[in-house]
Each structure stands twice: as C-alpha cells, then as structure tokens.
C-alpha cells in the first residue's frame, strides 16, 4: 500500500449567510461541487460518504448519498449534533488508514434561516401540550431552551471561578473582528465588550451577543490518502489527530457543568499528533455561545481549568493575539446554519493552505478544530498540519 496518511484534499462552501434560493439539499450539492473542483478529484472516486442527512426526505446519510449519487463502500451517519463533522474526520481517517475506503466525502447543508428564522435558540422543541417520550420527559415540563443549557454552564463557571460577562464578551468581540474581514459574514458591524454586556439578556448570564448567529449554509470536505493527494492542484492538509468523546446527551445529565468531553478528545488528538497546545497557531472552536469557547480552551489545555476568563482577555483571541480564534468570523458573527462543525474544518484548512486572505495567520502550520454537539455533549477534536507527519 502507498502512503495512506489521511489528508484533507478538498474543501467547499455553499452560499451563506442568507440563501433563500437554496434548499438544504442544494447546499449539500453546491458545497460538494465546489470541494470536487477545489481538489480536482472526480466524483466517481468517492467511495466513502459521511453526512447527517439533508432534510426534506433526506434526513439520513444514506438518503443523502442516494440523492448525491454516491456509490460508497463506507458510510457513516453518526449524529453527535454540530460536532458530527469532527467525529466524521476521526472515522474517515480510521477507515482510510485501514483501507476500507480511499476517498471520503463529508457534506453538510442547511436552509435554517430561510426556513425557520432565528428560532433555534429560544423556542421550545415541543408543541404545546405535547406528551414527550424518553429522557426528555424529565426536562420538557420545565421550558428550558437551547440557550438556557449553555447559560447554566456559564452560571456554574462564574460561580466556581469568578468568570465575568466581560471576559465572555472578549470572545464575541474577537470573532466579530474576524467577521469584518469576511464579506460573507452574517454580522460585520463593529462590536465592543460594552455592546455585548449591555445587550438584551436572553438566558442569564448569556446576553444576545453571547449567542451565535443563525444562517443558511453548507460545506463539504474531502478526505483521502496522502498518496492520492500527491498530484492534486491544492496542497494537502494532514490530519494529525482526530478524537471524539461524550459526557452526556441531555443537559440535565451533564455531570460537571464546567468541563466538557474536550478534556478527553483534546488530549487524545494532541497525543496522536505528537504536539502540544502551545504549538497550535490558530484554533477554530465551536462558538455556539461564548461559553462554549471558554470551556474548550480550558479543556483542550490552552490554559488551566478556571483560567479561561483571564486567558481570553486583552484581545488574546483576535488576529495578532496569542491564539487567533475563528478567523472566518465564527458562528457568533459569520455562519451557523444549525450545525457548525464542518466550517471549523474548512477554515482550519484554508489557514494551513495560506488562503485565508486578510484573516491569514502568518506562517500557520498547525491548526485545531473542535466541535461541540448537543448541549456541550459530544466534543470532537481534530489537529491539522501543513507538513507531512
């Protein structure tokens, strides 16, 4: 066998942040077409497919595979929420290394904003008077919302470590600076710490600007072998480490509200890669809410547990700071169609290919993508590098 080191060989974005002319499936298609064109890989070469599905009759990965006309011999519809795509990289690299398939396509597409507006964070998931089965029967009578789950983690972090709203706001402000460099970002107006902490409270202690945008959008990533990538038109991005872990699914089952499964998947991904947090040049972290980023920074080992607030101060996460975060403007300001994990991989790859334009981190050689799914439940960590390991 040739060099089966897994690489990201193609990336593609559909249109965002607002694309009412596209349905979810069309987002998948457009992203796939662009990733194929980006890589120069033929569609017929795809023999592995991974997706959470596309909606409107293609809610499963295999239904989406049929729609896209993928003849796979390795398929994965693992659904960990927004982090599914980091888990897919873990699964794709294992399958490729073992020879179960050679070239994996991962796609995602969502018309969330155009179809459902900005309802995701602050509407119930049930109908009035609905009888709710399973584990959610113990939560549904109490009216929690998505933002509320993260708010309870933020509240506990503030209680244990003295973290402040101003420190959380630093995260939103840094990401907004990067959105201002991205013409396709949802929100590009200047944003200050004061703007964040004086914005409307949605679920204490999270303010409106602690919460991500809701957009339309889609993305595709092609993972293949280093051997196949050798003569492609774009430089390969090497998958150095990929790991996933879960602490709970429903928020009431989160054992430690200040620690996520990144404390497991992070060290595992770093160990595979043989690098340490201080080696990383840029991080693409799942910024569903500011608190998500803060918890990940600690759990991944960029600072000690409880020190996240101090770590993010003074613009540490903005370009020019010690650890540039979400250089595409993130979910907070640029693009979040419901599940954001694939965009983390795409932006990390753009950085390592030197294609990030005004948002380029100089000499970026190592990037980390960390996705969160559910309610801080399933955390996938991927370490990517510019050089062959």
């Amino acid at each position: 066998m040739g060099d089966r080191t897994p690489v990201i060989a193609g990336i593609g974005l559909s249109d965002h942040p607002i694309a009412p002319e596209l349905d979810a499936m069309q987002h998948h298609v457009l992203a796939m077409q662009r990733a194929l064109a980006d890589s120069g890989i033929e569609k017929s070469e795809i023999d592995g497919y991974m997706s959470t599905g596309g909606g409107r009759g293609t809610e499963s990965g295999v239904a989406m595979a049929e729609y896209l006309g993928i003849d796979h011999r390795w398929v994965d519809s693992t659904m960990t929420g927004g982090s599914s795509f980091e888990f897919y990289v873990q699964h794709a690299t294992a399958a490729i290394r073992e020879g179960y398939c050679d070239t994996v396509l991962i796609t995602y597409g969502s018309d969330f904003l155009s179809q459902q507006g900005r309802s995701l964070g602050t509407s119930g998931f049930q109908q009035p008077g609905e009888r709710v089965a399973g584990a959610l029967q113990y939560e549904a009578p109490y009216g929690n919302v998505l933002v509320g789950a993260y708010a309870m983690a933020a509240r506990r972090h503030m209680h244990e470590f003295g973290t402040t709203s101003e420190q959380l706001a630093e995260i939103a402000v840094a990401v907004r600076k990067h959105a201002q460099l991205n013409p396709n970002a949802r929100y590009r107006d200047p944003l200050t710490i004061d703007d964040v902490v004086s914005s409307r409270m949605i679920a204490d202690p999270l303010h409106m600007y602690d919460c991500c945008s809701i957009t339309d959008g889609g993305g595709a990533v092609i993972v293949t072998t280093a051997e196949r990538a050798e003569d492609l038109r774009t430089p390969p991005v090497y998958v150095l480490g990929a790991a996933g872990a879960q602490t709970h699914w429903n928020i009431s089952q989160m054992g430690d509200f200040t620690t996520t499964a990144a404390a497991t998947s992070g060290p595992e991904a770093f160990a595979q890669a043989g690098v340490r947090p201080e080696d990383i040049d840029t991080v693409q972290l799942y910024d569903s809410f500011t608190i998500t980023v803060l918890l990940m920074l600690e759990d991944l080992g960029f600072c000690a547990k409880g020190d996240g607030g101090a770590f993010v101060e003074d613009g540490a996460l903005a370009l020019g700071g010690k650890l540039p975060l979400n250089t595409d403007g993130g979910g907070l300001s640029a693009c979040h169609p419901g599940m954001r994990g694939i965009f983390l991989l795409i932006e990390a790859s753009r950085q390592l290919r030197g294609e990030a334009g005004d948002a380029q981190v100089p000499d970026a050689e190592l990037a980390l993508a960390c996705g969160s799914g559910g309610w801080l439940s399933c955390i996938g960590t991927v370490v990517l590098g510019k050089e062959h390991p």
């Binding site: 509407s123 939560e139 009431s252 089952q253």
Partner: protein
Amino acid sequence: MIEVLEQGGHGVPDLTDRPLPQVDNVSSTYWSGAAQGALLFQQCPACGHRQFYPRAMCTACAADTEWKQALGRGTVHTFTVIRQNMASPWDRLLPYVVAIVELEEGPRMMSNITHCDVDDVRVDMPVECYAVAVEDGLAIPFWRPVQSERTERGRSA
C-alpha cells in the same frame, strides 16, 4: 413526603399547554410516586450508584436498580433565567427560572424554581420539592426556596 398541590394556586404553576411526560414502563413509578407525595430516585443494590433520570438499569454497573424515596430537599447546582422563549405557553410565563437541583441524596434533576423573584435565585440556594397534580398517576415536581429563604411571591413559572 412532598406536598402535592393543585395547579394555579398561590405561586403554583398552571401547567396548561406545557409539554408533559409520556409515561412509560420505567417512568410510571416516578410520576405516580410524585402524585402520591413521594419523590423517587434509583439506587443500585449491587454498587450503590444513585441516579436520575430513571432507567431500566444502573448506569454504573448495568445491574437492576431499586427505587428510593428522597427527602425532597436539595440545593440549586446551577440555573438560568429564561427571558426569551417564543413558543407557547412559555411566552406567557417569562421570565422564569430553569435550574438543575441537586438532591440531598446526590442525584440531580432539572426543574423550575418557583415562589421567589427570579433575581433572588442563587447557586447553592437550599430548596424544597413539591409536586403539582396533573391527572391520576401523574404529578410534576417543582422546587421552591425553603421557608426561611422564601421571598414574597415573585414571578414564577
């Protein structure tokens, strides 16, 4: 035992239009217990693990579990004040507190904190359980500050 109250009384939630449990083989014991004034959790006779929400086995060792009755006292482990929820009936109940309550016996559960102003809720605040009757075999547990901590009735969910 915990008090079982009628809906909509003094500070007691009116459950009209709230999503409610679809009672199943395991949960029926819990919900009917609450209706009879017993707040139940599960304990494993094999390894001692205590758990909530109820399952068909111990999440630690996979053995069958036993039901235990809680005292109905606990503390607020963490909470939020929901100030935006566009869905019915919640839009009529804003703002309200969603909390994770830690029972004295250890397990945690989600609930609302009622009978106090939403801004008076604190982490570690001592709370006590009561249940609101829905129908035969079903009452929903809620929590309120223990008597010494209770303020004049504020907004409550």
